[in-house]
């Protein structure tokens, strides 16, 4: 989750999925975003019918036939995706009227469990109905933040929202905050350096430490990473030797341990 656009959630999700699959985990990516970035970043085409998207799953009459698309099937096995897309704007409206709107995904997964080891839910940029849907279906939440003031401020508001929403939605067991991953770090920018520095008043890592929230390895801004996503591939396939892959590998390891 994030509370700002362009923080790199979807890029993060596909790269994490790739690294998880490499260490033998089967992964299902669920695109909860009307922008459908996941479709593009996973190298897939926009699904022609709403019935082929997450919208289909979010129905009280859903019978367990998940519209799964294999991701990078010619390169590897074990990654599937349920796609989002523009239809989700209609879904959000529909969910408002459903008595169990916020819990429909949780209900679907409870009644018809997916066989994958890890499910990754990719949420929209700002807090909306799909955040509730995703939160109630999650066991853990990972927050991606770019180290700029605006995103950090919004990120803490998201954490605040998560704590409150867990109570309001009466989630038992409540999903845990797995940690925060600073993404898109540029050391040539003073604001980024300050926000990732040691000054207790001005540092994101220090603020997280004081709250006991885990900080994942910082992922620096990389044109290669952006290009890989734009080409519908994880960085691990696009440029295997890139340093950043190690960070994703490390995060994947941690997730397996959880």
């Amino acid at each position: 989750m994030s509370n700002a656009g362009g923080t790199g959630k979807t890029t993060f999700a596909v790269n994490l999925a790739y690294q998880l699959a490499r260490i033998g985990q089967s992964v299902c990516l669920l695109g909860c975003d009307p922008n459908g970035s996941l479709t593009l970043f996973a190298g897939l085409d926009d699904p022609p019918e709403p019935a082929q998207t997450l919208d289909h799953v979010l129905n009280t009459s859903f019978s367990g036939d998940y519209p799964l698309y294999p991701v990078w099937p010619d390169r590897m096995e074990g990654i599937d995706a349920v796609l989002g897309g523009l239809v989700l704007t209609q879904t959000a409206k529909r969910l408002e009227k459903e008595p169990r709107g916020a819990y429909l995904l949780a209900d679907a997964l409870e009644d018809h469990p997916l066989s994958h080891d890890v499910l990754l839910l990719d949420c929209p940029g700002t807090i909306e109905r799909f955040h509730e849907v995703a939160l109630s279906a999650s066991t853990h939440v990972l927050v991606v933040i770019r180290p700029v003031d605006k995103d950090i401020d919004a990120g803490f508001k998201l954490l605040n929202w998560i704590y409150d929403a867990r109570k309001v939605l009466r989630l038992k067991p409540a999903p845990e905050i797995l940690g925060v991953c600073p993404n898109g770090f540029r050391k040539d920018l003073a604001m980024h350096r300050d926000n990732m520095g040691n000054d207790p008043e001005r540092s994101l890592p220090e603020a997280l430490k004081s709250m006991g929230i885990h900080k994942f390895p910082t992922i620096r801004e990389s044109a290669h990473l952006t290009n890989a996503s734009a080409n519908g591939l994880p960085l691990g396939i696009w440029r295997t030797g890139e340093e950043i892959n190690k960070a994703f590998e490390e995060i994947a390891q941690m997730i397996v341990e959880v």
């Binding site: 003031d149 950090i152 401020d153 803490f156 508001k157 954490l159 605040n160 929202w161 704590y163 409150d164 867990r166 109570k167 038992k172 409540a174 003073a190 604001m191 300050d194 926000n195 207790p200 008043e201 001005r202 540092s203 994101l204 220090e206 603020a207 004081s210 709250m211």
Partner: protein, 351 residues
């Protein structure tokens, strides 16, 4: 942080931190609930009673020790619990954390532990909570104490104040000032906002999760200032908090009499009683001669001192309060009188 940005990240994080703390209380509630409802007793161990100690932690508040959290143990209620444990065993395991050398510190369940000790039991069912810092232990202890229904309003107020001190990192006087100004602002009496932006949220969060209104907490604050005999009476269930506060506000010379005569009256009856007593005290001759409080008579002024002393002593001996033995305060004063009389005796012996 961008140059010139006046909002440090610590300020940005305030809302989330506050929500996180509320969330902890919520989780603790759930945990307590699930343990209370879990009859299988999974994870419970039989802990050696003689290796367990009550919680005692020094905090930043000028090194003052916050004891945990129950400083007063009503013997009647303790006896009832003891009897229940003797007959039916313990329903709810206690919470402890591991100290050094195989010792345990109580986080929740001091009363239950005391009962076990007094019953001569060698073990008590308990949960060991791992990796709990002093601050967390205290916070958990206070929180679970606040959440319990059988604690008295005074005990609860003490615990909430301790919890607020811990959360706000303030001493007790500052927490009180904050509560008063928040309450004043809430009821529209003042527009002062001499508190930090995050403080109202912290206070409100704690109160919400404990199901308490700010107004009722503020109304209870004077309980903390009760003289010890009134406090004991409240804790011992001899007088309700409302009446105790009414008594505390009346002239001090009336306190013991009121406590004895008026503790069980309704608030309205007690108010009237106090008004009557005050009138009597101010104009003793205007009453119909029925002595409520022993008063000095005018004749005494003209009598020799020995007669005055004798008369006073007689009245004291005959008072209902003294017939039941008086209290510590009286005993202390009597000791002084005895000392003075001895001095007179010694002096006379030299003449």
């Amino acid at each position: 942080m961008a140059k010139g940005n006046r909002r440090p990240i610590t300020a940005m994080a305030q809302g989330a931190i506050s929500a996180q703390k509320d969330d902890e209380i919520e989780r603790l509630k759930q945990e307590l609930d699930s343990i209370a409802n879990d009859s299988s007793g999974q994870g419970t161990l039989d802990l050696p009673v003689d290796r367990i100690f009550p919680l005692k932690i020094a905090t930043h508040d000028e090194g003052r020790i916050i004891h945990q959290p129950r400083s007063y143990f009503d013997t009647d209620r303790l006896d009832a619990l003891k009897q229940s444990i003797a007959e039916n065993g313990l329903h709810e395991p206690i919470f402890v954390r591991q100290l050094s050398d195989g010792l345990f510190g109580i986080i929740d369940g001091e009363r239950r532990w005391r009962c076990h000790r007094e019953l001569g039991k060698s073990t008590i069912p308990g949960f060991i909570l791992e990796g709990i810092s002093d601050e967390k232990a205290l916070e958990r202890s206070l929180t679970s104490h606040c959440l319990r229904e059988q604690v008295s309003p005074l005990e609860q107020t003490i615990s909430i104040m301790n919890l607020l001190r811990l959360r706000l990192e303030m001493d007790e006087a500052s927490v009180r000032r904050l509560l008063y100004s928040l309450n004043n602002a809430a009821v529209g009496n003042s527009k002062t906002t001499d508190f930090e932006a995050s403080q109202p949220q912290t206070v409100q969060g704690i109160l919400n999760s404990l199901g308490l209104q700010l107004g009722s907490l503020v109304a209870r604050l004077p309980l903390l200032d009760l003289p010890s005999y009134l406090r004991d009476a409240v804790e011992g269930g001899k007088v309700n908090p409302t009446n105790a506060l009414l008594i505390a506000r009346s002239p001090e010379s009336l306190h013991h009499h009121l406590l004895e005569q008026g503790a069980t009256l309704s608030k309205r009856e007690l108010r009237r009683f106090i008004t009557e007593l005050k009138q009597f005290q101010e104009a003793p001759t205007s009453t119909n001669g029925k002595s409520i409080i022993p008063q000095k008579t005018e004749e005494e002024d003209n009598q020799p001192l020995t007669a005055v002393v004798t008369a006073k002593w007689k009245r004291i001996q005959q008072s209902r309060f003294m017939k039941t033995g008086g209290d510590a305060r009286v005993q202390k004063k009597l000791a002084k009188v005895s000392q003075l009389l001895q001095e007179i005796e010694d002096y006379i012996a030299t003449k």
